[in-house]
Point group: C2
Chain length 226, copies 2
DNA sequence: GCTCCTCCCATTGTATACAACCTAGCGAGA
DNA sequence: TCTCGCTAGGTTGTATACAATGGGAGGAGC
């Protein structure tokens, strides 16, 4: 028996649009016109509308009644808010995870931490591919911690809070220095979790998030000045 | 048709269904059949489907592909999860609110605290009406604190986390003793916020939430035994 | 009696037709 | 020139028709 859930058209549309938005294919504030999307994705407007409704709930698009949907834009204040939430939510997840995480999850965390440092990874990737890989690996790392908190609602909230277009863009701006810092925190987090030290896990995770926040905000300002 | 009603059909349907579910009009796990709802609410299936999609995002209904929507049910574990989140989210909101809340909001908090204690309230209400009033007042109290955290995303997360059918039911189970405790915490919270004591505001709010959690869990177990 | 198979119907998923609405653009009058 | 109002085109909101899915009743075979 396959684990596969039968994908209805609307959820395929939903996932497609979500990816496109997260990867920045649609610019912030770009209008999403139902008929255009329908034609592009070879479905009628019905599943498009359903997907847009779901995307609005996820906070990725904004729908104004009788005016339509647009890709949500994120101001510097929004970024600040988001990271404030991430610190609280992911910190709490880390705290819970410290007493709940399993051996296999810890192994995966250490493995990811090593790989993100460039070790155990000998394939040649283009810059674009490497970024994409890093986004995935980093996402998986944080996802494992979130899941190890063993509170599905918390996990979902984190998922929704983290998934914004900027996260993808941010990795383009990272310099080797930022990666070193980030990797350092990943090891610290894995260490605290392995030690079962809930207090330290939360603190370190929060610091990691704040570090990311400060960098992204700095980068955003520079980007705006340029 | 009355003038000034700008709301589209689907959002009216959404609000109607939401209220009904929150107030327990539809039992947990009850199937929500589109055509029945359509007939009852005098609209076609289209806005019904849209509303159901939104309700699923809010976590109030569960939609299984090709099988339809059902009112989501909440296990004891779910309740535990929810209150765990509430403690973190509302605690954080209270912390933030301590340095951001305004005079008028504080006044309203004190006013609500007094009213919930039965003071300044001389109308005669039936038990049903009183419960309904208390749910509203308590919701407003917590809503003000959440809003005073000045992070709209946090506020929204709290809203979605708090709004589950059980919250409404729980008030039916409260005895005078529980009300005394709850009111005591409300005063403590307002006091900490007025003093600008962020640390204490967070701690007291968390205690308040945990108090509620323990009571609801106890009540749920008794309810299941009976 | 038990299992399996098939068909049927209730219900959901999608497409399309139509109504309501918003906005841009033009022109008339002050 | 500026403002107001009107019309037209484009887009969203809703209704309806049709296709696809799933589950259950009932019968055939053992």
């Amino acid at each position: 028996m396959k684990k596969g859930e039968r994908k209805s058209g609307s959820s395929r549309v939903f996932e497609t649009l979500r990816r496109s938005i997260l990867e920045g294919e649609y610019a912030p504030n770009a209008r999403l016109i139902e008929e255009q999307l329908a034609e592009r994705l070879r479905v009628s407007r019905t599943p498009i509308r359903q997907a847009l409704t779901m995307l609005e709930a996820e906070g990725l698009v904004e729908i104004e009644p009788n005016k339509g949907a647009a890709v949500r834009s994120f101001s510097v204040d929004d970024v600040w808010e988001i990271y404030d939430l991430r610190a609280v939510l992911e910190g709490h997840a880390a705290r819970r995870a410290a007493t709940r995480i399993g051996r296999d999850e810890l192994d995966r965390l250490w493995g990811l931490a090593r790989e993100m440092e460039g070790k155990d990874r000998d394939e040649f990737l283009s810059h674009e591919e490497e970024i994409r890989w890093l986004v995935g690996a980093n996402g998986e790392f944080h996802g494992i911690v979130a899941a190890a908190g063993r509170n599905p609602r918390l996990e979902q909230l984190i998922q929704r809070t983290v998934q914004v277009p900027l996260v993808f863009k941010a990795f383009y701006w990272y310099t080797p220095h930022e990666h070193v810092i980030s990797n350092h925190y990943h090891r610290q987090i894995a260490g605290a979790l392995e030690a079962g030290d809930a207090e330290r896990a939360e603190i370190v995770m929060r610091e990691h998030v704040y570090e990311g926040r400060d960098f992204v905000i700095r980068a955003l300002r520079e980007d705006m000045d340029a």
